[in-house]
Each structure stands twice: as C-alpha cells, then as structure tokens.
Amino acid sequence: MILPTHSQDSYDRYYMVTIGVNNTKPWPLLLPIYATRQIQLSNSTYRSSSNSPPTDIVGRPSPPSKPALSPEQDPVAFEKGIAGEILVKFGQLAHIIFIKHLRIKIAVEPSNIIRLATYLRDRLGFDHAESVTGTDYPKDNQVEVVYHLGSYTRQDLAGQVISVATRTNRDDPTLPSLIGVYKSVEYHEREIFEMLGIYFEGHPRNERFLLPEDWADIPPLRKEFRIKGR
C-alpha cells in the first residue's frame, strides 16, 4: 500500500471533495447535513476550534495555517493513508465523514456501494462485515445503513474498522444488498428489514426474523414507534 505524501496538497485533495467545492454533488440533500455534522462529529482530540471556518474537516490534526505533522507525530497517519487510497480510486463518489484512531467512516450513494465494498474486500483486505446498523433519521427524511468492515487476514489492519454508510429515502426505502460481497451480512440485513422496513435487493430472504409471526405494527426501530407509556 502506497502512503501518500503528507504535503499540504494531499490534504487539500482529500478534503476538497466533501463540501461545496465540487460542482457535481451526488448528495444534494445530504451535503448541508454532513457539513454541519462534521463540525460536531468530533471527539475530544479533534474538536475544531470555534473560529475555524465551517468547512474545517474533522480529523485534520492542525489548523490550515500550521504545517502538517509528520507521520510519527500524527496518530492517524495510517488511517489517512487508507482513506487516501480510497479517494484516489473513487474520487468524488466516496465522502470521508471522519477519520479517528482505528475508525474511518465513508459515505457513498447506494448505487456505488457494491463497487466500493468489492474494492475494500479485494484490494484493501477488509474481508468480513462485522455488523450492519440501520438508523432512522426522520428529520432528514432518510434512513441510513452503516456497514462495519474489519479484517482478519491482514496483520496491519487488525483493529481497523471501516464504516461504510449509505442513505436512502425514508418512504419506500430500498438498498442493494451486500450479500454477494460479504456473506456475513445475511442475518444482519434481514434484521434491518424487519426492524426498519428497508428492502434489500438481492437478499434471498427479506423476511421477519426476530419479531413474532403475527407482528402487525410498523417496524419497531422507526422513530414514530413509541414504546407504550413513553
């Protein structure tokens, strides 16, 4: 794996794709949301300062005026290398949401997710999907599915978890299933189908799994499903 050089140019190249700079916006609904979330989605180490511009990206180790840190001093240099490789291949199709120690989150459109997952499995060595999470965002009128991918075979990737997130419309949501790429998502996607109502195209059994056979209510993890009494 070739690590990109830590020059200012390469930083700009990574982060330029995310907000407002490119004219092609594959995520028209989501760019404002991801922009605002990026300021807030920071852990304590990478909290952006209050006078930084709103397009400051989480994971950046230093404000734009200071020189970039060298690999020994930057605790997320390795993760940035991985993210760089992905961006080199996918360019504008993949958006990096955050880069933390051992955790990278990438957002893609549903149409590109199988390509990205195949690339991650074959070229980068993330060989299994640990878990799949579905979340309901009624404020954005979307549902999000996040795949957490890990690697058992590569020693240098032990402990790395890449989260690949896709979003789709909340009413009548369908997503392509990753079961052709990672066999381990079979039961997870089935559970998301019954809990959130997302139909996975290509999954052999979009059926009820954990809920009782006579479940006649809306999918329970939707936000409008209130537990009784609360």
């Binding site: 809920l211 009782p212 056979e213 537990i227 009784k228």
Partner: protein, 171 residues
C-alpha cells in the same frame, strides 16, 4: 338389633358415620402418602425462557443442590413432568409455545413464576415484545421474586410450593 339398623333413617346415619371413619382412616393417610410422593419428586420442564435460567442452573449446582428436593434437571420429555418453572421474560413470540407446553403436561401440574419478568414484566415491562407477567396465560402457584432470584430464594419458593401441596386435596 340389626333390623333396627337396617331401616332407612338409621342406615343413612350408619353409612354416613362409616364414611367418616373411612375418610379418617384411609383418605388422610393415603392423601398424605400421595402428597408426600408428589412433593419430593417435582420434575421441572426444561423450559428456560430467559436470563433467570442461569440461576436455575446454578441451583442445580453442587452448592445449592435442588436434587435433594427431588427436582432433577435433565431428563427426556415433558409428558412426564409436573412442574413448570417459568424462568424469566416471556415474549410475545414465546407465549403460545408456553401455553402449548403447559397444555401438554399431565395433571396435576404446578407453576412457579420465577423472576420479576415472569411476575409483572419486570425491567422490560415497557418493551414492545414482552408480556407483562405470565399469569395471564397460565395459572401460577408460587411467585418467586428477584432479578434474578438467588438460588436460595428459588429453593424457598419450592418449599412454599411443597407447603401448598401438603394441604391440598387429592383428585
């Protein structure tokens, strides 16, 4: 004298008194013997519903041995059991199966509701898939509270069931 006893009024009284004597002589000791047999051989159905099953398993361990009470844990079919210990939460998916298991057990059968979830729904009372207590489906004899109840509490619940059986009538 026999002729005086055989007239209808006296006969009824004699039969009544004979019946009392028989009840005192046979029914009570026989009932005591049958109850004694039932009390000391309560065989529970292996129906672990949820997390309290760990404490039931611990109750069968060498420290809190319930086998000395006759409660043997691992055995074959439920058609030869007479005790069902509902251990833990009963979900809506499990409820019809619980009723089926209860129906398949032969009489006389007893039910112990173990744990707060089996009594009223416990910690999970506001979940969408949990029944608020099991006594809506099957009649419960003894409630054993706790979350989970310690094995000593479970043994105390069994002893309460034994007390209840000692005074029950034989059918």
């Amino acid at each position: 004298m026999l002729k005086e006893l055989i007239n209808p009024a006296q006969f009824n009284i004699m039969v009544g008194k004979l019946g009392d004597v028989l009840v005192k002589a046979l029914d009570k000791p026989l009932g005591y013997a049958i109850n004694w047999g039932r009390i000391w051989s309560l065989w529970p159905v292996h129906l672990e519903t949820a997390c309290c099953s760990v404490e039931f398993g611990a109750a069968s361990s060498p420290r809190y041995d319930v086998e000395r009470f006759g409660i043997i844990e691992a055995f074959g079919s439920l058609r030869q059991c007479d005790l069902i210990v509902v251990q833990g939460t009963v979900t809506r998916k499990m409820a019809p199966r619980l009723r089926m298991v209860y129906d398949q057990m032969p009489d006389p059968k007893y039910v112990i509701a173990m744990g707060a979830c089996a009594i009223t729904g416990g910690l999970y009372v506001d979940s969408y898939n949990v029944l608020p207590g099991v006594d809506g489906i099957i009649p419960v004899d003894v409630y054993v509270p706790g979350c989970p109840p310690r094995p000593e509490t479970l043994i105390q619940g069994t002893m309460l069931l034994q007390e209840k059986l000692k005074v029950s009538k034989i059918k």
